[in-house]
């Protein structure tokens, strides 16, 4: 058997107080790593790029009418008679859960051409920044489910900030395909449902359909697309003209470290020396 764990010297900061562990999130010293790390660092506020009115957001999500009250799936928690469980008293519910809102979704598709966000990075960002979320990835799309009022607040942050490029990210509840195709001639990601188009007069992207591809009464603007130069600066993927292959060394070494460790730990958990050769 492995040797019993020796007590390590406790980390102590100034004034003898315990030094708090600081999250490191993601390896790498290059630009792309920085973007990835920044997205998942909740101490860094996402930069606001545009403003979208609340009512427009409700229409875009298409789950309720403008001004309609929230539908409940169960009574508010304060009125609900539940069986005794100390854990329920400890964890703080979100406002939506407290009110008993139904669970609704938003789904994003991200292009592969200089995207400010990617389906595999979204869950890490969501789990770092938001509470009470449910997310799942499948082939170029990332689903996000939350209690309805929480979802609206979260979607607002996501659409208004640096992680959304109107040309290269899209809100698509159905028929999500297009992320791997070339951009259309106007620079927008292909959408088989034609939910959005470039308004040549204003230079902004306008949604004429909501995420379920139902036609909207009035087109909704989600702001101007990022220029190619800006998009390259916000890219979260490694590519030849953004960050060179060599800059990935740190990331690759971490991936190979845990891949090997998993295999050996799964084979024999007692082989600590082989699981961790460092």
């Amino acid at each position: 058997m492995a040797e019993p764990v020796k007590k390590a010297k406790k980390q102590r900061g100034k004034k003898g107080k315990k030094a708090k562990y600081k999250s490191q999130i993601y390896p790498g010293a290059d630009k792309v790593s920085y973007r990835r790390r920044r997205a998942c660092d909740k101490t860094k506020k996402l930069t606001k790029f545009r403003s979208i009115p609340d009512d427009n957001l409700v229409l875009l999500l298409g789950h309720r009418f403008k001004g309609e009250s929230y539908v409940s799936v169960h009574p508010p928690l304060d009125e609900l008679i539940e069986k005794y469980d100390p854990i329920k008293e400890i964890v703080q519910p979100t406002p939506g859960a407290r009110a008993g809102d139904r669970i609704r979704f938003v789904q994003f598709t991200d292009s592969m051409h200089y995207p400010p966000m990617a389906p595999w990075l979204r869950p890490r960002m969501y789990f770092a920044r938001f509470r009470g979320i449910d997310t799942m990835v499948y082939s170029g799309r990332q689903l996000l489910e939350m209690r309805e009022r929480d979802l609206e607040a979260t979607t607002k942050q996501l659409l208004e900030s640096e992680v959304f490029d109107p040309a290269r990210s899209a809100v698509r509840g159905i028929t999500v395909h297009g992320h791997a195709l070339r951009l259309d001639e106007d620079g927008l990601m292909f959408d088989a449902r034609r939910r959005y188009k470039l308004d040549n007069e204003t230079g902004e992207v306008v949604y004429t359909k909501n995420q379920h591809a139902d036609v909207l009464d009035v087109p909704l603007s989600v702001g101007r697309p990022l220029t190619e130069r800006e998009a390259r600066g916000h890219d979260v993927t490694y590519r030849w003209d953004v960050a060179s292959f060599k800059s990935r060394t740190e990331v690759m070494s971490v991936i190979s470290r845990y891949s090997t460790a998993r295999i050996i730990a799964g084979f024999n958990p007692d082989m600590t020396e082989l699981i961790d050769t460092l």
Partner: protein, 459 residues
Amino acid sequence: MKYDDKVTLYNDEGKVLAEDVPIEALSPMKNPYMGEMYVTFKRTSIIDLAKLEKILRDGTVGWMTTVGQDEIKMPWYGFRVKLIEDAGHIADELKKMLQTKDDDGTEVTLISGGNALIVQLSEEMLRRSADYSPAITSTGVALGQIVSKMADLSPIDHPHRLGLLKAALFGRYPQTVSTSPGNVVSTLIKPPSALEGMGTAFRTMMINHVVALANHRTLDAVALATILEQGGQYEMGNSIGWYERNQLLTSAFQGFNANNLVLDMIKENASGTVQDVLVYLIGRALEDGVITLKGDRYPYVQPSGYKLYSLTDYPKWNAYACASQLAAVIVNSGAARNVQSSSAVLAYYGDMLAFEAGGLPDPDAGRSMGVGLGFGFYTHGLYGGAGPGAFTMEHVITRSNSGFLTPCTVAAMCLDAGTQIFKPSVTSGLYYVLREAMPLLKDPLKKVAEAAESVKGDI
């Protein structure tokens, strides 16, 4: 004593239940309470008398799915027999027929005012059987004889009624692999013929049933799921030799709140996110010496300042990681008060952990993440599928791990405030009654700890 590791067990209110218990006292092979549970699960069957009376009257038998129990209707073969009224008589007759000798431990108990019976076979009968089939076969045949006597059936005068009675008690078995889902005579675990693999029997309970048996108390449900999962792991050969310490340590920390780790993580991050739990884990693991930073230069610190931590003891790290995974599920599901999000946390937690810890292996050496992704697919609209509560612990989607995944989903199901169609009150109503009728099933966390305390001197 094989292993030096000792843990202190706490309940969900942070009170000490057992101090300095060797982890071997929490082994399914050594803990008396766990042993008692396994025997009980094998010897117990439930007879739904009210349902039997109804389907005999209406001739609705031979169904193939849980939701289609009225798909076949043959009222012209139906007959009336007062089973609920004579439940006491049936219980006495059953006991007489099932016991190998007087006072051998065979018990038949009336529940729900005679609407159902709990039949518990003697351990002698189990000892002389290859498996627990008699809990269904002997009980079913005995009940068939009693009912045919009560209704005065004969193969000459009533051949079709007898055929109906057989179908009511056994479904289409043996034309099908096992009895119908929702059969009148059922066991707590799947019939042996329906098992999907060797040693999976204790893992066949549905997640919602576990929640109902624990009466929605989160850490009790986690303990119950862990007892069943680890029983299965031993039976499947996944706790032998070099796997044993890893299984024992991890089940102690994740399943039985050892050293109050899970509760600490939940309390510290009561209004936090999943990543907060992760950060707390690394801080706590560094503090407890489970991981260390061996130096402040390359390769321990990378050019960007990113640190690669080192392991001092992998099983202990795995125990911490799996415990934090449970805490992360609880913190996230507790915030939204829904169960659906548990699979999402299970799918992505390992990924986030591996990058945060500088490439240390994630919970259960990556199996949690692998199973979590598949579980996420089949519990979301992406691929369709059922609510998480309707899965059994050995379902093809949830089984490929070392028993540290379903306790997390069970915990999330306890915290669900009513967002599911397949909720425990719908799928597992009988199990709330069983819990009241069988005191053994109550307070599993406390009882495991007390049992461990009682044998710690012998280890």
